[in-house]
């Protein structure tokens, strides 16, 4: 599909690429947009590297001098690393569980015919039509009754459940596109269907699995509302909740806030820059879910 790879235009002969008023306008717009998406991050980075006196200086100082890592150290002193670890642990575990349960469910829905398969698929996809907000209060009450508030298990469970429908939808679609021959051959050789899923479908589906993994990781890492109601102790806070609680504390230290914000954003930003294409195919797959 055109969604996974956007070809970067072939080079035209130099004569055509030369000054062209339409082109100039196009590139001007592009530069402005790029500038507006980078500027807030750049300003956050500059703020995070300044000493307090410069952060609150008037007229504003653009470049930090001296450059200081103090704000980052302060953030670490206030528990940034634990919050990042919590987010990492919760998101990674969620991804693994989504991939396992997701492929297990997607395979029969793609390849086997059995009674009730349409109904089951429908039930699995219905939650995508229900906004998460609607389930917020009942989920909180259920988790409270199960004693899963303020625990890793509780958050992982919720993120897992929320990610499954999309994962199953994407993986089922991908499985259906794969040719039957390999599976048939394996079946003739006596391989069980679980064996076929594990040894044939999973290796062949790496692009889809990677796209799902990235999207689920991004969503779990960035999720805030559920995390904010499910965690109360400072030990269980995810990075997003850590940011919010620090911000609402009296006397916001903006240098430290920017340092924590950027540190929180760094893992997903790095993943995105390294694996951009997979992200974009996940993004478009996510949208086609309806």
């Amino acid at each position: 599909m055109a969604t996974t790879a956007m070809p970067i235009g072939r080079r035209r002969p130099a004569t055509r690429a030369a000054v062209h008023p339409g082109r100039v306008a196009i590139y001007t717009v592009m530069v402005l947009v790029a500038f507006s998406s980078v500027l807030p991050f750049a300003w956050a980075l500059l703020t995070s590297l300044k000493v307090e006196r410069q952060i609150y200086a008037f007229p504003p100082v653009i470049l930090p001098s001296p450059v200081t890592g103090y704000n980052y150290l302060q953030a670490i002193n206030h528990g940034l690393l634990l919050a990042l670890f919590n987010s990492l642990f919760i998101s990674t575990t969620t991804v693994v569980l989504v991939l396992i349960a997701g492929s297990l469910a997607a395979y029969p829905l793609a390849r086997m015919s059995f009674r009730g398969s349409q109904l089951i698929l429908f039930l699995i996809l219905v939650p995508m039509m229900i906004p998460g907000l609607v389930n917020l209060v009942p989920t909180y009450i259920i988790m409270a009754k199960l004693g899963l508030l303020d625990s890793y298990q509780g958050l992982i469970l919720i993120y897992w459940v929320h990610s499954l429908p999309l994962a199953i939808w994407v993986l089922r679609g991908f499985f259906q596109e794969l040719p039957h021959e390999l599976e048939d051959a394996a079946a003739v050789d006596g391989a069980s269907r679980l064996r076929i899923l594990w040894s044939i479908m999973v290796p062949l589906s790496q692009p889809a699995l990677a796209a799902v993994a990235l999207l689920v990781f991004l969503n779990s890492w960035n999720e805030f509302v559920i995390a904010s109601i499910m965690t109360s102790s400072s030990l269980m806070r995810t990075a997003q909740v850590f940011l919010y609680t620090n911000m609402t504390d009296v006397g916001v230290n903006w240098g430290e806030m920017m340092a924590s914000g950027l540190a929180t954003n760094l893992p997903v930003l790095t993943l995105f820059l390294l694996l951009q294409r997979r992200f974009i195919s996940g993004l478009t797959a996510g949208a086609l879910k309806t």
């Binding site: 339409g22 998406s37 807030p40 469910a105 059995f114 906004p131 609607v134 039957h180 960035n222 109601i229």
Partner: protein
């Protein structure tokens, strides 16, 4: 599990014979149970909660529609309805409109398209909390970048961006658009690139101008992508909590307190789970209504 696995020496794709094959059900069971218990059940449970008097997490007594009438009698609720619709409508129109324009621009570019897309998508990868946090700092009246660069530098008095009801709403919408545009752009760019170039060539041969081919080729062929995007953006914006929570806290006063934020506060600041659930159900109903309207538009109108 073992037993059923052994019975499969013949091709997988073919239908099983009469005896019930348990394997597919067993494979689906974990996902289906989890979704049923923690996604579908909570929705019904939410309906139940909304007709009960609730103390913390205990459902005490059935109260009929009292929670709903209580919510509907509260002028704050109607204020939040107005805010939700204003925020959603303007946000959606701006992000889809700008995203569409940018998709067409990016499609024209011969070079640097990949790089442009990477940079433009940075806001989309960034979490809501981080986004709104950074903008809260930029919009800070005393030390913020915006006042320093564009207001005080020109000799004007500082503007309380988040202290004025209308300005706070405008800031909320603009930051949300800033975060929403890249997503719209990438989706629509994918849609635009799906249109075969031949159609434009044919239109050009028929003497169609650029404007004409936009209305006769681009728009009709991108209609589905546009409508899907509009539905998704509307639903996301309507249900957003974190934007208001982090940037304005619903303030000043209740000037940016959307229905979603109101529900969050009712439940988790005031521990009024019953009325929070009633608001949640009203939000759910509005979501369904909006989706149905869009689906109807999508169904009834023909494209190309």
């Amino acid at each position: 599990m073992q037993q059923t696995a052994i019975t499969a020496p013949h091709p997988v794709a073919r239908a099983r014979r009469r005896q019930l094959d348990l394997l597919p059900y067993l494979m689906i069971a974990p996902a289906l149970l989890a979704i049923g218990l923690f996604s579908l059940l909570p929705t019904f449970y939410g309906m139940v909660i909304s007709v009960y008097r609730v103390e913390f997490v205990q459902l005490l007594s059935f109260v009929g529609l009292a929670n709903y009438t209580g919510v509907l009698a509260d002028p704050k609720f109607w204020n939040s309805v107005r805010i939700s619709f204003t925020f959603t409508a303007i946000s959606m129109l701006l992000s889809v409109g700008i995203g569409f324009a940018l998709a067409l621009v990016a499609n024209q570019a011969v070079r640097f398209r990949g790089l442009f897309r990477t940079i433009a998508l940075l806001p989309w990868v960034t979490s809501y909390v981080v986004t709104y946090l950074i903008f809260r700092w930029i919009l800070n009246a005393d030390f913020g970048l915006l006042n320093a660069l564009f207001v005080e530098a020109l000799g004007w008095p500082r503007i309380q961006w988040l202290g004025d009801p209308n300005l706070a709403m405008a800031c909320l919408i603009l930051v949300n658009v800033w975060r929403g545009v890249p997503y719209a752009m990438v989706l629509l760019l994918a849609g635009r690139q799906g249109i075969p170039q031949e159609l434009y060539e044919a239109a050009a041969i028929d003497g169609a101008s650029g404007v004409r081919s936009f209305f006769s080729v681009t728009l009709p062929l991108m209609k589905t992508a546009l409508l899907i995007l509009i539905v998704l953006t509307t639903i996301t914006d309507f249900n957003i909590v974190v934007a208001m929570l982090v940037l304005t806290g619903g303030g000043p006063g209740t000037a940016t307190e959307s229905m979603s934020l109101r529900m969050y506060y009712e439940a988790f600041n005031y521990a009024r789970m019953g009325s929070a659930s009633a608001i949640a159900m009203i939000i759910f109903a509005i979501n369904l209504a909006l989706t149905l309207v869009y689906v109807r538009v999508l169904r009834t109108e023909k494209y190309y």
